[in-house]
């Protein structure tokens, strides 16, 4: 589903952000990517979303050679990847319903279907009653659920979550992780970048640990590795 083959990424200054990274993630896997700040996690997410191009190596996502994509092909490619960020990135001036419906409008889903799909996904994330609320009226956990609903409403085969619990308290963090697990059990490949040691250790999933741009460990039922 996701393959990185000897991928390196250098910015104009300093050491490479990714240095000869190779990995393979199968369809339906749940993978944690952990590591300190500057380890290359964010760069990897940006490469997978085709926000950046690798300096060398190949990246394949869902059968697509990412580096070969033309600018006009990027939107369609991104529709196969649901994304959730630490800071939620909701449209502040639109209510919950509109935020989720927006993802469907982008792919030109007929209004009738939007009216059916949005309430369904909102009830999956437990927010059916709050569809009229604005993001600022919601707690952090609720905002992240809206972001999750938005990421999933188009049923993408892959979900990327970049520090999804970074701004949440432990209770909300667990609820979000449970939701991610349910989504994964329904068949979506889930990739979670996180710093949350407790969650990583408790969930017993595949853990890829990065340090200074290289993968230092990749364990099937891994745990959080302390500072190297």
């Amino acid at each position: 589903m996701i393959t990185l083959d000897h991928v390196s990424k250098s910015y104009s200054t300093g050491a490479p952000a990714l240095n000869d990274v190779s990995l393979n993630i199968e369809q339906g896997e749940f993978v944690f990517i952990v590591g300190d700040s500057g380890s290359g996690k964010s760069t990897m997410i940006k490469l997978l979303l085709r926000e950046l191009l690798p300096t060398s190596g190949n990246i394949t996502v869902n059968g697509v050679n990412v580096a070969a994509l033309k600018h006009r092909q990027i939107p369609k490619f991104r529709r196969n990847i649901g994304v959730v960020f630490q800071d939620f990135r909701l449209l502040k001036d639109r209510n919950v319903y509109e935020n989720v419906a927006f993802a469907q409008r982008v792919v030109q889903t007929p209004t009738k279907e939007i009216r059916r799909n949005v309430p369904a996904i909102l009830s999956t994330v437990g927010l059916a009653g709050k569809y009229k609320a604005r993001p600022r009226q919601l707690s952090g956990g609720e905002q992240q659920r809206v972001a999750l609903a938005r990421a999933l409403v188009n049923k993408p085969p892959i979900l990327l979550a970049d520090e999804p619990t970074g701004n949440l308290d432990p209770k909300n963090s667990w609820e979000i992780m449970k939701l991610l697990e349910e989504i994964n059990e329904a068949g979506t490949t889930v990739l979670v970048v996180t710093h949350n040691r407790e969650i990583v250790n408790a969930m017993k999933k595949r853990v890829i640990t990065m340090n200074k741009g290289v993968i230092i460990s990749d364990e099937k039922e891994g745990s959080y590795i302390d500072e190297i």
Partner: protein, 299 residues
């Protein structure tokens, strides 16, 4: 594009205007101010050129004939002159009319001494009026070459002065209009830039979700075009009412010059000003939003 997407785009464009009302008002005010200046300037220039053109139409070339030339030949010459493209009107003045005119103007009661004699017996002539004074030289050479024409009188000084004034007005107005447009594009792109940087995050989110450039850009472009339209409509409305008032005021204050100052009607001015202002307003809104969004869209 689906109907629902089209209406969504329109709706978002309108909502954006209200959502960012201060920014929208600032943009509209900028466009309005520039187009008001443009409208005032255009009205002045158009009227000035109209007055100059009226003056040009009053400039006549006089054609005298050989002594004893037959009436048939004179009529023939008349037809030849009328056929010329640069000629707007030809008046035949008979010898009697010429003498009567001269008597009235210069002799008054002293004319009685001449009795029935007409000292201007060979002064029958054509007064030839031109479309464009700049063509006077060409016409005079042509007239002088016609068989039966004795003499051609022209006012070269008037012709060259009017042509010069017309050119000066045309060049300076083109220059000032270009400067005005450049200033307005600069002001508007600045305003649009401020508005767009506020929404940079929104554009980013749209792009992450997989929105095409077209989908992201369309509501902004609709918004820009509506702002441009309103920005153009306000000064047009203002000018429509102000124009008549100003013209009435000038005509009443300078009634002595009423023969010289022949103003255009508001309808005549608006035949050009209305479409041009709307195109400029909507065009600036379109180009301003299109190019500024483009800078932020490559995520």
């Amino acid at each position: 594009m689906r109907f629902s997407t089209f209406f969504y785009t329109l709706k978002q464009g309108v909502i954006n205007i209200f959502r960012n009302k201060w920014y929208s008002l600032a943009s509209m005010a900028t466009i309005s101010a520039c187009l008001l200046m443009f409208g005032v300037f255009y009205s002045v220039v158009a009227n000035f050129q109209h007055i100059v053109k009226s003056a040009q139409e009053g400039v006549a070339v006089t054609v005298f004939f050989d002594e004893g030339l037959s009436q048939e030949r004179i009529a023939e010459i008349g037809t030849m002159i009328e056929k010329r493209a640069e000629v707007s009107k030809v008046n035949y003045v008979s010898a009697e009319e010429a003498w009567n005119g001269f008597k009235e103007e210069y002799l008054g009661e002293y004319a009685d001494g001449f009795g029935d004699d007409n000292p201007l017996a060979d002064s029958a002539n054509y007064e030839v009026y031109l479309n464009d004074v700049a063509m006077q030289g060409t016409l005079v050479s042509y007239l002088e070459s016609i068989d039966g024409v004795r003499e051609v009188h022209q006012s070269e000084v008037t012709a060259t002065t009017l042509t010069g004034v017309n050119k000066l007005v045309a060049y300076s107005s083109a220059g000032i209009i270009i400067i005005l447009l450049a200033v307005s594009i600069f002001l508007i792109s600045n305003t649009v830039n401020i508005g767009i940087s506020v929404r940079k995050e929104e554009i980013n989110i749209m792009k992450y979700i997989g929105a095409t450039d077209y989908f992201v850009r369309s509501p902004f472009v609709v918004e820009g075009m509506i702002i441009g339209f309103v920005g153009a409509a306000v000064p047009l409305g203002l000018l429509y009412f102000l124009y008549q008032t100003v013209i009435d005021y000038i005509s009443s204050r300078f009634s002595v010059l009423s023969e010289l100052l022949k103003f255009l009607t508001v309808e005549q001015v608006f035949t050009v000003l209305l479409p041009v202002s709307l195109i400029i307003g909507i065009g600036i809104g379109f180009i301003g939003s299109f190019t500024t969004v483009r800078k932020h869209i490559r995520v």
